[in-house]
Amino acid sequence: MKIAKIIVALVLAWLFAGTAYALTAADRMLLSAGDNDQRIASIAKVVAAGDASAVPFLKSLLDDSVKVAGSKVFIAGADAVTDAATGVRVELPVNAADVVNNNRMRSELVSAIAALELQSPDVAIRMQAAQALRQSDAGDSTLTLVKNAEKTEQNSKVKSVLGEIRAGIELSGPDQATRLNAAQELGGSTSAQMRQLLVIRLQPGGETDPQVKQLITSSLRAMDARLAYYEQAGIVFTGLSLGSVLLLAALGLAITYGLMGVINMAHGEMMMLGAYATYLVENFFRNYLPEWFDAYVLVAIPVAFILTAIIGMILERTVIRHLYGRPLETLLATWGIGLILMQLVRTVFGAQNVQVENPGWMSGGIELAANLVLPYNRLAIIVFSLTVLLLVWTLLNKTRLGLFVRAVTQNRSMAGCVGVNTARIDAWAFGLGSGVAGLAGVALAQIGNVGPDLGKTYIVDSFMVVVLGGVGQLAGTVYAALGLGLVNKFLEGYAGAVLAKIIVLVIIIIFIQKRPQGIFALKGRSVD
């Protein structure tokens, strides 16, 4: 019975091989019903035929929406059932049975779809298909197809992935020379699947030829070295990325706390407001200017900055002004402000997190290796934080406002005597600090969910950055932020995320004992 079916399939395959054709009702039936071996043979036949129009049906099979009743095949979509042969909407017969796919069947389907999609004119689809194919255990059935695709492929990246797949299949091929060649080639790969293939070949029951074996071993070693290198590079990158987020979060604090001596516990809430401002702008663009959606971030940046700066100035004028010289009270009052802002956002936007979509140019990333992808949004934030840093530095060191701010913070009464409006400078400086917090919010909205508690998760960390870097030192803040980001990420590799964070906090606490003024604080005649 089984053998008979296979023979039938093989005969059919032979009959139709090489000729372009659309799926027939009989093909669909063969793909959907019957013995798994027979169905897999049918899949192989479809793949060999290289017909891209079969992809939708294969996908339907994969997501379990294909039903069989008698000799008819139906596709039960989300809202309608269609006859697979005619595409006409029909009622699903009561005796329709589900097509059940086991894991083996699924992986066959996945690689079949990928193989067919390799012929798509769209580079992105081809790349996706190639990667999916590499992910699945592509068998001999796809070798010819992959080889052909590799030959015609114009895009070098897709080509190299295809090359890997081909080499992976050839590695267990019959010809020793081909195997040697494949082992050599795979040494240049960084894909985890390819590494697995090499490892399997070295195990008993795999490669027997000593020459090939040796080559595989050395390729494996080269691959591991490269993987380890990329992994370290990846940690450095994520560390820098975390550091740049911390830098953004701490920059505003470095102004309000470091320069003005005002401890602002509502700083986290300012970031949260900046993130919600981004959310609002994003929504506005989605609804009213969808064709400009990719540019919404450029609008969100000034909106968030101005909004939080104004709120900051209002707070400074109404509350914080009365508490200068009383830092502990300022801490408590600003905490209270933070609570109110948090609850306000909850009342307006709800307690649930909201999602902010990245603009198109920020999704995706640069793939340097299979285990090292630099996401564009992270890259953008690194660039963004450095830009903000540069602007803040320029503002404080090269403008009159900066001169006044520094004058007021160093000697308030003297600055007042020489005609600086100290009250106004305080408001401007606090507004600037809050505005920078708003900018941090824009960045945070690009890498995670936005919720009313967003600020509280960053407040401890950003204070640690300022404390560690030394009060009143922009350079210290930068080193401390990037250093903390890197140390955190490196520790994560050994201890896990939570423990790493605890270790970092403990390290800071111990470090502060040694240098209470922070790493970069100036020594001076301290006035008690």
Partner: protein
């Protein structure tokens, strides 16, 4: 009263005992600074400063702003550690290795430029806290004020003319009264060496006169170092004057000699 604390020449062999309260001033020198250098981020506040104060001497220190007067006080009282050089209390106590409380207990009292008293406490409590006694926790928790201690507080109260204010909160005193209270607190500590940073700043002429009187009576019993800007006041108390300039000693001698010193005139008037 003071001489009880001078232990004579029992530790002259150059061995530097770090025992608070045990002082050896047998050589007649109570304070000895040598080659003290302190710098803050490249700025040299003190530059190889050397000078000494004899037992029972009243020394005035003058100098323009930034001459290093306050930094010198900080070094003596342990607030600032010198980068190099040595500072000794008597022959044996290396002040650069002692903490502020240890130095205070060893017998150095300091009055700040800005009067620093405990504003929330009464005048009496201020003096009680300053009183020379066991200052460890246990004694503070369970110790009682002895009759003679009470007497000495009252004695000081009358010396500093604050008897009527005994139970007034120190924060409510006038500026001059705070200055006096602080001096009173120093007296209560029974120090061997008093460091006074501008003791008459903000005082009326009458108060200044009385302060001068007080210091004159204290000299001899205590060694006193006064930092002051008020030249008349300095003239009224000084026996020996040291002029500081840019972190080191510019001139030293009696008032007359100093006032006629070429370099001093240049520093004070030349610019």
């Amino acid at each position: 009263m003071i001489s009880d604390n001078f232990t004579g020449s029992q530790a002259t062999g150059g061995s530097h005992l770090l025992q608070p309260g045990v002082l050896d001033s047998s050589h007649g020198v109570v304070l000895y600074l040598e080659d003290i250098t302190v710098s803050f981020d490249g700025f040299r506040a003190l530059n190889k400063l050397s000078f000494s104060v004899d037992v029972g001497e009243l020394r005035c220190i003058i100098g323009p702003n930034g001459a290093g007067k306050t930094t010198m006080m900080d070094v003596i009282t342990g607030k600032t550690r010198p980068d190099s050089g040595s500072v000794f209390f008597g022959q044996t106590l290396d002040l650069s290795r002692m903490t502020e409380p240890q130095i205070a207990q060893a017998g150095i009292g300091r009055k700040f430029q800005k009067p620093t008293v405990f504003e929330q406490h009464t005048v009496f409590e201020n003096l009680e806290l300053a009183l020379k006694t066991d200052k460890r926790i246990w004694h503070s928790l369970f110790g009682k004020l002895k009759g003679e201690e009470r007497d000495s507080i009252h004695e000081i109260l009358s010396t500093i003319a604050l008897l009527e204010k005994t139970n007034t909160r120190a924060g409510l005193l006038s500026h001059g009264q705070k200055q006096w209270l602080e001096i009173g607190m120093l007296l209560a500590q029974q120090p061997l060496l008093l460091l006074l940073d501008e003791p008459v700043a903000g005082m009326t002429d009458q108060e200044t006169e009385r302060t001068a009187e007080l210091l004159n009576t204290l000299a001899g019993k205590h060694s006193i170092v006064v930092v002051e800007h008020d030249m008349d006041f300095v003239a009224s108390i000084a026996r020996k004057v040291t002029v500081l300039h840019e972190g080191s000693v510019l001139a030293e001698g009696d008032m007359n000699k100093v006032q006629n010193d070429e370099k001093v005139i240049e520093v004070y008037l030349g610019r």
